[in-house]
Amino acid sequence: MAIKMNHLKKTYNGKAIFEDVNFEFQDHRIYCLMGASGSGKTTVLHILLELVREDGGSIMRPPQLRFSAVFQEDRLCEDFSAVENIRMVTGKAMSEREIIDKLTDILPHEAIDQPVQDLSGGMKRRVAICRAIVAKSDAVIMDEPFTGLDEDTKQKVAAFILENLKGRLLILSTHHMSEVKMIKGDVVHMNDVN
């Protein structure tokens, strides 16, 4: 399984965000998408997730490819607990015990039953990461997943991601080389793919 982007182009208000992006993401690999702010990292990820349409070029991926994702914003259901937020994407595939076990790997136990709106920014981020990791998917997309986490927590979360990735393709955007090292990914520069 591979995802191929051929001559991908995206414009916004008549101005090109990127032109002629060519890249191939191979299965079982970890890619860290780097580039200056505004270089189009999030747009590339949104095109992969089929949330945004490309204005030119093509993208080839297996037809039934299933994604899970951490967005730039947490995109959690604020009225519900961390457990409920995970249950929304897993359905009955995971028991409550299994969900709690996964969450407590990266969250304090007392945080998992509270409505997400009462959690700190860093805790919300970890719930969003856990949701992407435990959801059934073939590939995981993460848009700056470590935003708002301190160094120790980043290490813990990176270890959690690697332990639970289970061979899936991971494409992650970041500004920091330290995060690339933590997640043991291959760097892809937006400038390189342009």
């Binding site: 997730l49 089929e50 949330l51 299933r66 994604f67 899970s68 994702a69 967005f71 914003e73 995109r75 259901c77 009225d79 519900f80 409920e84 937020n85 249950r87 929304m88 994407v89 359905g91 949701r131 959801a135 998917s137």
Partner: protein, 245 residues
């Protein structure tokens, strides 16, 4: 605790103030056919509350108006959800909703009286008032669902029921609560107006009509207070129930 006590004292003081204003106004007007004071109303209550007929009258009107509200609420939310999902249905219903919202209550009551008689008039009138409000609020609530959460649900392929429970329902709830608050008050007003026109036996409307015929202003005031209390109580009940939605 202290704050609650102060608030209670404040409310009682406001209540007492308006009772005094009412009493003074009744004394100044001094014509029982036009305006009665609190003592006359209390006397009317004392006369009626212990009777079986009083409670039967309340039960009759409440059941009719309540049924109109509940059926309109169920139909409004269900059809509203269907119209949100299938925009063709929304377009199709648009003129009906406009008509229901703009038709004068009095015209509709008279038409409905011809169609179905007085017995179930309040049900139909209540329904016709509540349905468009709940329908419109349901669509507005669903439209208000966070598109970023919907995108997330699309990526994760979240199933229909879970989408409803976690994304649509929280968006819908405040719209339904505010819709119900307005609809319930209007349902009582229009339902009682329908009863006054149709005069079904053993209804609050009949009591108001009789009070008018016999120029019993104290009874008219007493039944009006009953309607206000029933409207406020049912509103509190509905809002309480909607919290479990």
């Amino acid at each position: 605790m202290e704050g609650k006590r102060n608030q209670l004292i404040k409310r009682m003081a406001v209540f007492l103030f308006w009772m005094i204003v009412w009493y003074v106004a009744a004394r100044i007007i001094d014509r029982q056919i036009i305006f009665v004071g609190p003592a006359d109303v209390i006397h009317s209550f004392a006369k009626q509350v212990p009777t079986k007929a009083f409670w039967e009258t309340i039960a009759y009107s409440m059941s009719r108006i309540g049924l109109g509200f509940v059926t309109a609420f169920i139909a409004g939310t269900m059809i509203g959800m269907a119209a949100y999902r299938f925009r063709i249905l929304k377009d199709l219903l648009e003129p009906v909703i406009v008509l229901m919202k703009s038709i004068p209550v009095a015209s509709f009551v008279i038409l409905a009286l011809i169609w179905i008689g007085s017995e179930n008039l309040a049900i139909l009138v209540g329904f016709s008032i509540v349905f468009p409000l709940i329908y419109v609020n349901t669509i507005a609530g669903l439209d208000n669902a966070d598109y970023k959460l919907l995108e997330m649900a699309q990526v994760f392929r979240v199933k229909g029921w879970y989408r409803f429970k976690y994304i649509y329902k929280p968006a819908l709830r405040p719209f339904l609560i505010s819709g119900c608050k307005i609809a319930l008050g209007m349902c009582w007003k229009s339902g009682i107006a329908a009863e006054v026109i149709g005069v079904p036996a053993k209804s609050i409307g009949e009591q108001l009509y009789m009070a008018k015929i016999y120029l019993s202003t104290a009874d008219l005031f007493a039944w009006t207070i009953v309607i206000i209390i029933l409207s406020a109580l049912t509103e509190k009940l509905i809002i309480y129930l909607l919290k479990f939605l």
